[in-house]
Amino acid sequence: MIARFVVRRAAALAVTLLIASVAIYGALFLSPGDPATLLVGGGKEPSPRLLAEIHRQYHLDEPFPASYWRWLTGMLRGDAGQSLSYQDSVTHLLGARIGNTLLLIAYAALLIVTFGVALGALAALRGEWADTVVTVLSTTFMAVPVFVMAVLLTWGFAVRLGWFPAYGSGTGFTDRLEHLTLPALALAASWLAYVAQVSRAAIRAELVSEHVQTARSRGIKESRIVRKHILRNAAAPIVSVSGVAVAGLIAGSSIVEQAFGLNGVGALLIQSAAKQDLAVVQALALLTVVAFALINTAVDVLSAALDHRLPPGGSR
């Protein structure tokens, strides 16, 4: 049952990525004028010799399907072309930065899932003051944009208290974690609050459900009821929202990396876009779409495994 669902989702994933890659590569040709001028970047008119060189290097004179295919197969082989503004291969540029970004996103995702679910469960199960505190705090945090949170955290924990560094990526694992703590908090805050609220709602709904009443009527211990009936049944919605949150981190990471001066692919995306370095932007756009789609598919499969009623279209 679940295997067929996985196969179906994998096929859908492949189609999605193919369409996205055509859109990303095609955007270069949709822009007015000669794509080569975009690839050079900057405001000034490039020399005809340079333009001709770019046409040759990027195979711009070939028909669209042929050049698209060349680009796509290059990407699949790990060759994303050359960056004109950095005078370096795109693969090398990404390789040097992706570690920081992945660590940042993993750190933030860990914060979101552990503290988001824990706070939601605390609010729902403990109720009263805990519920009020969590609801007020999470509503506040959801309203604060990432860049404001970055400034507030830097001011509070780096400038006033001096607990964490305000800038840079650090070297070595512990030093990097220390450097990434404030960025990860800034990135996670609003999503953490969102996951906490959804967890609270899902757990409260299970708490008052009839089947939990049945379990109580049979003398089963409350701690087991919480684990096996309440949290277990609330898990599917919590997992799918956590997945959306982690996917959202990818988009938010650019702002945070820029704000905290982290040398990651998010900051690279902002800088390349400013310099109109299209080869880098294309590669990063494709990478983002792939990551986004992979996370969503993984979450769908996980949710379906957690709740057998969920697979759309029926898997029986």
Binding site: S209, E210, H211, Q213, T214, A215, R216, S217, R218, G219, I220, K221, R224, K228, H229, R232, N233, L306, D307, H308, R309
Partner: protein
């Protein structure tokens, strides 16, 4: 009343209030009722009469904030005073509840096998294998043929009738002495209803189980129970032996309910509806809650609430009970309402 032995279940002046927008409202005014070991009592009433909360108070399954006055005694022990461990023991092996809607009352994500064996494994420390064998036997007993396959399925894969049989098996698996059946057949279609009632009846007979049967169906209660208690607006207004229901009922409400039932034998007799609308317990004034709808009500009925008193074979809470033989016609005769 036999004073020599304690009844298995006794409600002693049970009174329940629930918080509604800051103030406590009565949902059960007064229930005095006993269920002897092995006996079956039918608690009959309209929706909102408090019969379901009365049954739930036996297992202390009341909504948060509920306040209970009077007492509920199970085998002599006060349920309201029980500590957590005794309460779990009562729930696990003293009394078991069969809920109305098995679709909502069985965890949809877990298998039927998990549902049936959870209590045995976690509260009695039985091995999974022994518990599963017991569950298989019980499923067969309640009329589910392919038990091993059913144990692996989830609730969504079973029909309502099958699920209610699973619910009955789950109630029986703890070997309780009392079944609390809260409208066990209301959510089922008519043919399944009869089968499910037969399953409950048979299981009771084999085990000598007592039962508190909650229903709005007076005839069904009379058919399966030894004794009938009629509830109206939070109070038991009449209790009498089931066999004497038609001949010996004295309360105007019981008489009106009997008259409101269609009778297949007598042909085209028009149904007699009870005038007015049913009151909820919290709306009841200082007098008899049924007084506004009662054809025999007098001034006293609107000012003083009647207490249950002995009337022939049963007990009736009425200032002016319609004693058997004194009045052949049921109240409401003058207010005949034609249905259709």
């Amino acid at each position: 009343m036999n004073h020599m032995e304690t009844p298995l279940l006794a409600f002693e002046g049970l009174h329940i209030t629930l918080p509604v927008r800051g103030e406590h409202r009565a949902v059960v005014h007064r229930v005095d009722l006993t269920v002897p070991a092995g006996g079956a009592v039918g608690l009959v009433g309209e929706s909102g009469s408090g019969k379901s909360l009365t049954a739930r108070s036996v297992l202390r399954l009341l909504p948060p904030g509920a306040r209970v006055g009077g007492d509920v005694r199970f085998d002599g022990a006060s349920v309201t005073a029980m500590d957590a461990a005794s309460l779990r023991a009562l729930r696990g092996s003293g009394a078991a509840m069969i809920f109305q809607d098995p679709r909502a009352h069985i965890n949809p994500l877990r298998t039927i096998g998990d549902f049936l064996t959870e209590g045995l494994v976690t509260t009695r420390g039985q091995r999974q294998g022994a518990a599963t064998a017991r569950a298989t036997d019980l499923l067969r007993e309640v009329g589910i043929a392919d038990a091993p396959r059913r144990l692996r399925q989830r609730p969504a894969e079973l029909s309502g009738g099958l699920l209610q049989r699973v619910m009955i098996a789950a109630a029986l698996i703890g070997e309780p002495r009392l079944l609390l059946a809260d409208e066990p057949t209301t959510a089922l279609d008519v043919t399944t209803q009869a089968e499910v009632m037969a399953v409950i009846d048979e299981a009771r007979e084999q085990r000598g189980l007592a039962m508190l049967f909650i229903t709005h169906d007076l005839a069904l209660a009379a058919a399966v129970c030894d004794s009938i208690a009629v509830m109206y607006a939070g109070s038991v207004v009449e209790q009498l032996p089931a066999a004497r229901l038609h001949d010996a009922s004295c309360h105007p409400y019981t008489r009106a309910l009997l008259a409101a039932r269609p009778d297949p034998g007598t042909g085209a007799r028009p149904l007699r509806a009870i005038e007015g609308r049913p009151l909820s317990a919290s709306e009841a004034g200082p007098g008899c809650a049924f007084a506004p709808r009662c054809p025999a009500a007098r001034d006293l009925c609107t000012t003083d609430r009647p207490l249950p008193e002995r009337t022939g074979d049963g007990r009736t809470a009425c200032h002016f009970p319609l004693l058997a033989g004194a009045d052949d016609a049921a109240p409401g005769t003058e207010r005949t309402v034609r249905h259709g």
